[in-house]
Point group: C2
């Protein structure tokens, strides 16, 4: 049963998966046709090998520069800063934003020991320093960490001649941006105000 226990152990590492769900996943995978399991392994390995962070915005991509950052139709003077790549995907679904993004890959959390060096804040400053940016929209989550991160970014970006805005608090406080409906996100974006 060692291989089975090891498989359950590996599945339990997936975010939000407990022992019971891991057991269900393991049994499903053992029962699934061999071709399906090998297809899964191939997709996982290929994704793992080919995916990297976009050199500009930090989103996941299989190219040097991601699809959005390479799109000439997007307004490159506008950068929307998000915590996670899922937040970017959620905002894109709202179709309310035509600029570019910057993915921090986290938020400041003194309690968990996550300081500015653990998120992609320096990279954001570099993008602003490189010029051509007129506005930074801070779209971090409306919770303690997200607010602290927005405040910190507003401070370190102060020396630069850019407008710094925060998405409107049309989004419920304490909520997770990634789970909001498109209309609320769209409203929050259009109601953004200068910090």
């Amino acid at each position: 049963m060692k291989a089975f226990e090891r498989l359950i152990g590996a599945l339990k590492r997936l975010p939000g998966v407990g022992p019971k769900q891991a057991e269900r996943f393991a049994i499903h995978l053992i029962r699934a046709p061999r071709t399906e399991v090998e297809g899964f392994v191939d997709a996982l390995r290929e994704a793992k090998a080919s995916m990297r962070l976009c050199a500009r915005c930090g989103d996941f991509t299989d190219k040097e520069i991601c699809r959005l950052c390479s799109d000439p139709a997007r307004d490159a003077s506008l950068i929307c800063v998000v915590e996670e790549t899922q937040d970017l995907a959620a905002l894109e679904r709202s179709r309310a934003f035509n600029g570019l993004y910057h993915v921090l890959h986290g938020s400041l959390s003194p309690l968990e020991g996550i300081g500015p060096d653990r998120i992609k804040a320096k990279e954001l400053v570099e993008r602003v320093r490189a010029g051509g940016v007129s506005e930074i929209v801070l779209a971090t989550d409306p919770d303690t960490e997200g607010e602290a991160t927005a405040l910190y970014l507003a401070q370190i970006l102060k020396p630069f001649p850019v407008k710094i805005t925060r998405i409107a608090h049309g989004v419920p406080l304490g909520g997770d941006l990634d789970y909001l409906d498109e209309r609320t996100l769209s409203y929050a974006l259009s109601g953004r105000r200068e910090v």
Copy 2:
């Protein structure tokens, strides 16, 4: 992004996983260290290659005969019939049963076209026919399919000189056996009655 989409597609096949959770899993896996991902792939392949159904009870095992069926301390004259391997695990955690098991790998469902040939009913009859069995405890789920399955098994086992019992309905109707607490399961087992 094809590999990423393929990975999400593969993860969505896991039971109960929707697009959002699959996306979270995919991002976690892409971010995880390469060694962790390879450890997962190894465990999956090894489990897939080594796991099979016990020739006696039908539970998952990496041997010809599983650990429980090979244990001389278990009472081989008592067979508890369950729908799924998770139910077996749940009953074992209750420590209320010292016999052996029989895993049906499903339940009768005319609506879904699952008839007696799709569950391991014939194998159960063979075990009883082989002799040495004095009691069959029907521990299928207390829902429509589970009750129909218990009724069907009681009928086909009628010609044999074995006592046929059903676990007590201390378990809430419509519930899923796999999610019950140990005390309720223990109570349901000890209160079993002859069908």
